[in-house]
């Protein structure tokens, strides 16, 4: 019920009943020290019950001899607190009211102005000053003034308030020592706050429900937010309060003195803050049960712890990795078929794989011979690596050598190739020597076989080389012979060419003068002389033919018979030859028939040479045929790309045994000096050479007594 009046403060004054007055008095009883609070509450009460909108309470400070403002309603608090009036001025209107103890009314200074309006927090408007007396009696000293705006009738409530407020002021004033005590307390309290604020850990005093009673600055940052604070900060504070209350309630219920962790939010930046909360319950006879909590920020500590934990995990992982690596290394080393030994700088064996163990270790109960074998191996190995251990080689260098070991069990010699390398630490210190032994027996066997193979191969190679050299020598000899032959042949040809030239010069004179005499240059000659001259002439001519034919052969053989390839129409060439030989044909009285190719037959060849061959063949036919006829035929052979000219006669014919040798130089069937037929015997030899030069051939078909057929066959294109 009592709270209803407070909550419904309306503009319509409520007549104060006994309950309202009792309420105020109860307040006075509770607040028996704080004059300002009492004055404030009194003025509020007056506003509520009497409708006084603006009022000021002034009290006498006896020590300072001042009338000071202690409370105000509807006015500036600052003005109230700053209000101070000296009591020494007895002419001052307010002081006079105080001294007279009678209420006075002050009109606005803008009114008729018969009285001076004092400067009060109420401003310049009209007000009423009511003295507050120390006691109920009318002569009791005034200890203060109540200034109310406008002129208000002295209602019973107002009169009652003046009375009780005056007595209350007197009561508080009467305890001047109490006020000093209060100041001292305030100082101590200030000191207390200063101290707890200087503590960097948040400190809070809460009631059992978790409501905040006292908090130091650090705690306020976490748990209090002003109205101006932004939304985020207010939320964070709200959350922190909730978390803290929850933590606190657990603390109270479960284990009050135990430290527990509390995760809060930093309202300034939203980061997580981890606190260790130490709470203890304090029992105060007056304030009841409270809980003091000290929060220690362990966020960094937690972080450090986590870091340590993490590092520890890493360490364990690394350790596991190293262990796995080592296991793998062991596996690898054991899987190597060659013995591997790791020795420390002192020469002691640190590690060896299974194959090495077979060589360098023996069970204690092994036979003496096995033990000796192991010792022998050990001695050999130690002497090998001693060089490395004594530092004869630099870091990274490898010592390589051969050691004669034995198989301790069987006693079989095992020559091994040892390769040892230093393991050097970062500081350059020798930490170990790793040695790998490689069984050389297989390699030696291979080397032996290879050596044999190499010997065989070398021998073979030597033989091949010898044969090749022999061949080269032979080739060289042949080559030289060929060159010599060629030179000889060329010299012969040159010689013959020169000879034929030398022959011609005198022959020219012989034939010339004979001719001149026969032409009658020296006058008419007797018939017998003329006949003799004709003998000289015909023999001279024969000699000239021989010389010309020799010249032809030497030209061909000396390669001085250049080919002049052109279109040669064989159907034209043969009649040409016939015309040239017409006088001879006419003298022979033989029938010579030419049969030309039905189609034009044009070949790519050397016209002059083809003609020379045909002339020669026809001349021979005429020479060796006495009766019958001669047939000259031109034809193309279909498939071979060749053309042929054949000369057939009904002459003496040639026996088969002579078919080949009639083409030889200076050869006739009848070689005797008394032979019947003239000619040099070079004609066919020249024809065959010329035919070859044209890429063709001359063939013979003949029967003795029946006649002969000579056929020249040449390619249609001699250039091919």
């Amino acid at each position: 019920m009592k709270s209803v009046g407070v909550r419904t403060a309306s503009r319509t004054p409520l007549r104060a009943d006994a309950t309202a007055r009792l309420e105020l008095l109860e307040y006075y009883l509770e607040q028996n020290e704080d004059l300002a609070r009492c004055a404030q509450v009194s003025l509020e009460w007056l506003a509520r019950h009497e409708g006084v909108r603006r009022s000021v309470c002034l009290a006498v400070d006896a020590d300072a001899r001042l009338l000071v403002g202690v409370g105000g309603y509807g006015v500036s608090h600052e003005d109230v607190e700053l209000f101070s009036w000296p009591l020494s001025d007895s002419h001052d209107p307010l002081v006079r009211v105080l001294l007279s103890g009678q209420p006075a009314v002050f009109r606005s200074s803008r009114g008729n102005g018969h009285a001076r309006t004092p400067q009060t927090p109420l401003g310049t408007s009209s007000f009423m000053a009511l003295p507050l007396r120390a006691g109920r009696l009318p002569d009791a000293d005034a200890v203060g003034l109540l200034l109310v705006r406008a002129v208000t009738p002295l209602t019973p409530d107002l009169t009652w308030l003046i009375t009780v407020l005056g007595q209350k002021i007197e009561q508080i004033r009467g305890r001047g020592s109490v006020a000093r005590e209060a100041r001292k307390l305030r100082r101590e309290r200030t000191l207390f706050y200063t101290i707890i604020n200087s503590v960097t850990d948040p400190i809070l005093l809460t009631d059992t429900e978790g409501r905040l009673i006292v908090a130091n600055a650090r705690a306020e940052k976490l748990f209090a937010a002003t109205e101006e604070a932004n939304e985020g900060r207010r939320r964070a504070v709200e959350l922190n309060n909730m978390l803290f209350s929850a933590a606190l309630s657990r603390t109270v219920i479960e284990a009050p003195s135990e430290a527990r962790e509390l995760l809060l939010v930093d309202p300034s930046d939203g980061s997580d803050l981890l606190f260790e909360v130490l709470s203890s319950t304090v029992e105060d006879p007056r304030e009841g049960t409270g809980i003091v909590s000290v929060l220690r920020n362990i966020t960094d500590l937690r972080r450090a712890t986590e870091q340590i934990e993490e590092n520890y995990q890493k360490l364990r992982v690394a350790e596991a990795a190293v262990r796995a690596e080592r296991d793998r290394l062991n596996l690898i080393i054991d899987s190597v078929a060659d013995p591997i030994i790791v020795t420390d700088p002192g020469g002691a064996t640190v590690l060896m794989n299974a194959p090495a163990e077979e060589l360098f270790t023996a069970p204690p109960d092994a036979a003496a011979v096995v033990q000796r074998g192991v010792q022998s191996n050990d001695a050999h190995f130690s002497s090998f690596i001693s060089g490395l251990l004594l530092g004869e080689t630099g870091p990274g260098e490898v010592r390589q050598g051969e050691i004669a070991l034995i198989n301790p069990l069987s006693g079989t010699p095992i020559p091994v190739e040892a390769i040892a390398g230093k393991v050097v630490s970062e500081s350059g210190e020798l930490t170990a020597v790793v040695t790998i032994l490689h069984d050389r027996r297989e390699a030696l066997e291979r080397a032996r076989l290879f050596e044999q193979l190499k010997l065989g191969a070398d021998e073979l190679q030597m033989r091949v080389q010898a044969a090749t050299a022999e061949l080269a020598t032979q080739n060289e000899l042949l080559r030289r012979q060929a060159i010599e032959l060629e030179q000889a042949s060329r010299l012969k040809s040159q010689f013959l060419a020169n000879m034929s030239h030398e022959f011609r010069t005198p022959l020219n004179a012989i034939l010339g003068y004979t001719h001149m005499l026969l032409q009658g240059v020296a006058g008419e000659l007797p018939p017998n002389v003329k006949r003799q001259l004709q003998r000289i002439d015909s023999n001279g001519r024969h000699l000239l033919t021989i010389i010309n034919e020799i010249l032809d052969i030497t030209r061909i053989e000396a390669g001085k018979m250049p080919m002049q390839i052109s279109d040669v129409n064989l159907n034209e060439l043969v009649p040409e030859v016939m015309m040239e030989l017409d006088p001879v044909v006419a003298r022979s009285r033989l029938s010579v028939v030419t049969r030309l190719s039905p189609q034009p037959l044009i070949v790519q060849s050397d016209r002059q040479k083809v003609k020379q061959i045909v002339v020669n063949l026809l001349s021979n036919a005429l020479k060796f045929t006495h009766e019958g006829g001669i047939d000259v035929a031109v034809s193309a052979s279909g498939a071979g790309g060749t053309a042929s000219i054949s000369v057939s006669d009904t002459g003496i014919g040639i026996a088969p045994e002579h078919h080949e040798n009639i083409f030889e130089d200076f050869r006739q069937v009848d070689d005797s000096p008394s032979r019947q037929y003239g000619g040099t015997g070079l004609g066919l030899a020249i024809c065959r050479r010329l035919a070859h030069a044209l890429g063709g051939r001359i063939t013979l078909n003949s029967d003795v007594g029946k006649g002969s057929t000579f056929t020249l066959t040449i390619p249609v294109d001699a250039a091919q």
């Binding site: 011609r504 010069t505 004179a509 032409q519 030209r555 001085k560």
Partner: protein, 130 residues
């Protein structure tokens, strides 16, 4: 037998028998004839006599027939005189060499005097017509 108006032929040959034989037969055939035994004489005679034709053996001692021919054909005064080369070299290429040196015609020895006279007449006619 010689006629002042008959064409003058210079016969050049180092072989006396051949030279005199041709000279004799040319005279017998109605030509005037001068003789030279080598290339130098041939050039001198040609400048001195200005013959109507020169029969030039190519193989001559000293200045040979090819050189003498080149010399005569290079000179304004003798350039027009036809030169008939005479050679015993029947190898291919001999006639080409003679043509290149400037010879107008080429006759291979042995050459009967009659044949030579035919060639001389042919050349003189060619000059006359040209």
């Amino acid at each position: 037998m010689t006629d002042q108006k008959a064409p003058l032929i210079l016969v050049v040959d180092d072989y006396q028998d051949a030279r005199e034989m041709y000279a004799e037969y040319l005279q017998f055939s109605g030509f005037r004839v001068a003789e030279a035994r080598n290339g130098n004489e041939a050039v001198d005679q040609a400048f001195a006599l200005r013959p109507d034709l020169i029969l030039m053996d190519l193989s001559l001692p000293g200045k040979d027939g090819w050189e003498a021919t080149r010399e005569l054909k290079a000179d304004e005064r003798t350039r027009h005189i036809p030169i008939v080369a005479l050679t015993g070299h029947a190898l291919a290429g001999a006639s080409d060499g003679a043509k290149k040196a400037g010879c107008d015609s080429f006759v291979t020895k042995p050459c009967l005097p009659d044949d030579l006279v035919v060639e001389v007449r042919r050349m003189l006619n060619a000059v006359k017509q040209g």
